[in-house]
């Protein structure tokens, strides 16, 4: 009756290895081991871990409420190269297919060919893009796009922003300004702000989520590049502690490579 895996160093280290190699991080791994150390065997420990992880992911949600008479504005933020621009194209395609009148805003006015990149997607999808010149204030482009979306009764406006490190105070302030300027038009804007996190990144995803969330309210996470071999476990401490739901998963470079996040499937992929 007093059989417990706590006495079995091999089982404990096997469980630790799975979680640590999945980028869970030391903190939450230790908490989870502590939680299951009195399990009678490895299998029941894993079952308990899986239901715990699923419950974390299911404990937060984002209720999307489409407004009448004004566009639904979604802002995409995140560090450099994670997949913001590509994710916008994917979401634009699927929302347009669902009958929405979609518009894009090219608010990355800094990086080489960022505007051209979004323009190519807008042409392929036949959705309009509001843009400005390189070096111009991204907030002014967002403002112009929102006004145009309202005037021409667009259902949805997707805002692409420049990649920025959360450690760069000026760039974080620039992002805050985009949100602030939108609020001036309508206190609801933007109704949704998504942070894109790269699944192959380690513990720094936690710092990214923390710092971005302390700058502007985050509605949810898009977990990109899960088609690689990384497990994306850094989202567990993020969802548990910051209470930001994972809404989408990106599984490739094509326009259709995006799915609604499925907590059960995700946890199964880590403990198959």
């Amino acid at each position: 009756l007093s059989k417990s895996i706590a006495k079995d160093k091999i089982i404990i280290s096997e469980l630790e290895k799975v979680m640590l190699e999945a980028d869970f991080g030391f903190g939450i791994t230790t908490d989870i081991i502590d939680m299951v150390k009195n399990s009678s065997d490895k299998e029941s420990a894993i079952e308990e871990i899986k239901s715990y992880l699923i419950s974390i992911l299911q404990s937060v949600e984002f209720k999307r409420e489409f407004p009448k008479g004004k566009p639904y504005i979604r802002m995409f933020v995140g560090v450099n190269g994670v997949g913001k621009t590509t994710s916008i194209a994917k979401i634009a395609k699927s929302d347009k297919r669902n009958g929405k009148k979609v518009m894009l805003a090219a608010c990355d006015t800094f990086r080489a060919a960022a505007i051209e990149q979004l323009e190519i997607w807008s042409n392929r999808l036949s959705v309009p893009v509001v843009k400005g010149s390189y070096g111009s204030d991204p907030a002014s482009i967002a403002y112009k796009a929102a006004e145009e979306a309202i005037e021409n009764m667009y259902d949805e406006l997707l805002i692409d922003t420049a990649g920025r490190l959360h450690t760069n105070r000026n760039l974080m302030a620039e992002m805050e300004k985009i949100a602030r300027v939108l609020k001036k038009i309508d206190s609801d804007f933007p109704q949704e702000t998504l942070i894109i996190l790269d699944a192959s990144i380690g513990q720094n995803n936690i710092q990214q989520a923390e710092k971005f969330a302390s700058s502007i309210p985050l509605s949810g996470i898009v977990l990109a590049k899960i088609d690689g071999t990384a497990k994306g476990g850094s989202i567990f401490p993020i969802v548990r502690d910051l209470k930001i739901p994972v809404l989408y998963m990106c599984t490739g470079e094509g326009l259709d490579d995006i799915v609604m996040f499925d907590p059960v499937e995700f946890v199964e992929s880590i403990f198959p």
Binding site: V79, G83, G163, L165, D198, G228
Partner: protein
């Protein structure tokens, strides 16, 4: 600084004067935590700790007057020592010398092409940037704008076949008296067999003297799988670690070097074309140790 950070770990041990082997093991567990939190790969951490443990016991730490201090010193030195072996210069062979940038999507290859050109210009090399990524929307235009910023040559592709570009560009470079060709390639997953095969073919055609694996400095545990695959498939000649201007600890540096044995030649520290630095093992070691 790391000496004081690690010293915290051993402060409680120091007050004991002499360490028991148990105390030492506790200290090493703490170091394991520090390295894991720095994104060093799990297996790499275990191997590193074993090596350090051997050194520590070999140096009769348990009988020293200041064991905590000594262990801190050994851990730091061991890390600097390992990473130090990873430091090497860019290698040029052939006229023109061909440098190829490869790696995962979004790691910073295209941006790095410009930074590399600016760095090599200072060494009097005449560089031309070659856009072999014809698939990502705007990639050719992106490299073109970067070439303008860097004020270096740009190869205007007349095909969207990356292999044809790799074949033609060196000849055009030679005719126009460029001595260095920097080929930017499409981001690809290490598990994408088709694209990895394409890269192998491109290497056969262009015969680069440098095959530089450009990796995101914030990469987590998967760094070993990614680097191992790129190295085994393509026999990379070096690594460039990017985005180290953030607060990622950079444990990927130790992971990647441990699994490939290939040198880390440069690091990216920002988005500007001048934001590239030499790889300093002691600085990265301090950063990893927090």
């Amino acid at each position: 600084n790391i000496q004081s950070n690690l010293s915290k770990i051993f402060r409680k041990l120091r007050s004991k004067g002499r360490l028991t082997e148990d105390d030492l093991n506790q200290g090493f567990d703490e170091i394991k935590r520090v390295l894991l939190e720095a994104d060093v790969n799990y297996e790499v951490v275990n191997k590193f700790i074993e090596d350090v443990r051997e050194r520590a016991l070999g140096q009769e730490i348990l009988f020293s007057l200041n064991p905590g201090q000594m262990v801190v010193k050994i851990v730091y030195e061991e890390l600097v020592d390992i990473l130090g072996k990873a430091k090497k210069e860019i290698f040029f062979k052939g006229n023109p010398a061909i440098i190829m940038l490869l790696g995962l999507q979004g790691s910073g290859k295209t941006t790095t092409a410009g930074k590399l050109a600016v760095l090599l210009k200072k060494k009097n090399r005449k560089c031309i940037l070659v856009p072999a990524d014809t698939r990502r929307p705007g990639a050719v235009e992106q490299l073109k704008q970067i070439a303008e910023q860097a004020n270096v040559g740009f190869y205007e592709p007349d095909t969207d076949d990356p292999l044809e570009i790799a074949r033609k560009a060196p000849k055009v470079a030679y005719i126009n008296s460029y001595d260095t060709v920097i080929i930017d390639t499409q981001g690809r997953l290490h598990v994408d067999d088709k694209l990895m095969k394409e890269l192998k073919q491109m290497i056969k055609i262009a015969k680069p003297s440098e095959k530089l694996f450009v990796a995101d400095g914030m990469t987590g545990q998967d760094a070993v799988n990614i680097a191992d695959r790129f190295n085994n498939d393509l026999d990379i000649t070096g690594v460039i670690l990017t985005k180290l201007d953030g607060d990622a600890r950079g444990g990927a540096a130790l992971s990647i070097y441990s699994v490939t044995g290939k040198p880390i030649k440069l690091i990216g520290v920002g988005e500007k074309i001048t934001d590239m630095e030499q790889f300093y093992p002691d600085r990265i070691a301090s950063r990893i140790l927090g």
